[in-house]
Amino acid sequence: MPSGPVLAAAANPWFSWDYLERNGADVLRYTQQHASLTVQAVLIALVVALPLAALAHVRPRLAGPVLASTGVLYTIPSLALFAILAPVTGIRRTTVLIGLVVYALLVLVRNVLVGLQGVDPAVLDAARGMGYGRLRLLLGVELPQAVPAIVAGLRLATVSTVALVTVGVVIGYGGLGQLMFRGFRSDYHAEIMTATVVCLLLALVADLALALLGRVLTPWRRSSRTPDVAPGTPQEAPWTS
C-alpha cells in the first residue's frame, strides 16, 4: 500500500456516498450475485437435507455415520474445499455453489435431525395410538413439530452462507467478496466498507425474513398454552415439495 497513488492517499474515507453513487451498478450486480448464490445454495441444501435427516431419523443406525461424515466434511476449510473442487468442476459459478451447498447441508442435516429427535414422546405416543403409520407420523407429526428446529437451522445456514460466499473470490465468483478484494487491491477503503456493510445487511435481512417465516409456519407456538399440535393440518413447509 505504500505504492498506492498519492491521490488516493489524499482522501480515502471509509464511508463515501460518492462511491455508492458512482458504483451503484457494480454494488447492485455483486449483491445480486451474492444473494442468488446464497438462496440457491440454501434451497438445494434443504431439499437434500430433509430426506437425509429423515432417513437418519427413521433408521437410527444411519444417524452415526451421517453425522460423523458431515462432521469430517465440515472440518475441511472452505478455501481447501474450493481448491479441491476446482479441478473437477472447473472455474465456474457451479464450483462455488457446490461448496456452499456442502457447508449449508451439514448445518441443516444436523438441525433437522435434532428437531426430529426432540419431538415430545408423548405426542408421538398419542399419534401412534391414533393409528398413524411410520410415514404419516414422520410427515404429519414429526416434521411439523421439528419446524422450529428446521427454521433455526435454516437461519444458521443462511447467515453463514452469506459470509461464506465471499471466499468464492478465489474462483472469481465471490459476490460482494469480489468488491472487498478489489477494494483491497486498489486500496479503496469505501469499496471494502460498503461491501462489508451490504454483506451484513444481507445476512440481517435474510435472518429476519426466515424468523418471520418460522413464526408464520408455527402458529401453535404463539399461544402461550401448552404446545399441542393439530396434526390434521400438514405444516410441512412449502419448501419440501
Binding site: 453425522l67 462432521g71 481448491a83 479441491i84 429427535q117 426432540g118 452469506v162 472487498m180 454483506c199
Partner: protein
Amino acid sequence: MDVLSEAVVWLNDPLNWSGRQGVLALTRTHLEVSAVAVVLALLVALPTGLWLGHRGRGATVGVVVANTTRALPTLALLTLLAATGWFGSTATALACAVFAVPPILANAVTGVGGVDPDARDAARGLGMSGVRVLWSVEVPLAVPLIAAGIRTGAVQVLATVPLAALVGGTSLGTIVVSGFATQRYGKALAGGILVAGLCLLVEGLLALLERAVTPAGLRHRARGADGHAPSRGPHPRRPVALGARRGSNESAQSP
C-alpha cells in the same frame, strides 16, 4: 486426470517442502498463528463465558455474539484490517481470534449455566461461596462442553488462517491462493489437500485430548453433546419431563 497428477508432482518435489516458502515452514507459521489466535480467544472468551454462565444470564448474550460474528465474513475483517495497514501474522491472529470467541464463549456459558441446579443447590447448602461453587462444582461438570467449544474454536481458527493468504498473510493457504492466481490448479489442489489434511489431523488430536480431559463419569454425556453442534438440542435419548421447556432451569430452581 491432468490436474491431479500435477498436484502429485508438486507434492513430490522436495524443493516445494524446504525453504522459506516451503510446506514445512508454512505449516509452522500456520500453526503458530493459529496458536496465538486460540490463546487470544481463550483469554477473552473463557473468563467471560464462565462468569456469564455462573450468573445465569448470559445465554442470550452468547447467542447474540455468536450470530453477529457468524454474519461477518472473514474476508471482510481481513481486508478491513489489511487496508488499515495491519498486515502479517499479528493481524491474522487477531482476525481469527474474533471468530474463535463465539464457540468457546457459547459453550462455556451453556456448559456452566446448564449444570444440574440440584448439584448447585447442594454445593450452596454445604456452605460454598459463589466462586467456590463455580470452581469446584460447575466448571468440572461443564468440562465436556467447554472442551468441545475450545476444540471447535481451534479448528475454526485453523480453517480461517488460510484465508489470510488472500491479503498477503503467510500460511498453508498461500499455496492455494498463489496456485489459483497463477492458474496452476495442480498446486492449488496440493495446497487444498495439505490444508484439509492439517485440519483433519488437528481435529483428531484435539478430539483425543478432549476425551482425555473429560472426567470418566461424564464421558457418555460428552458423546451425546457431540463436538460441533454445541449445546442447542436436547439430549435425544434422555426422556424429557412432560411440560418442561428444554434447557431452562427456571421451574426447577426455586424449591
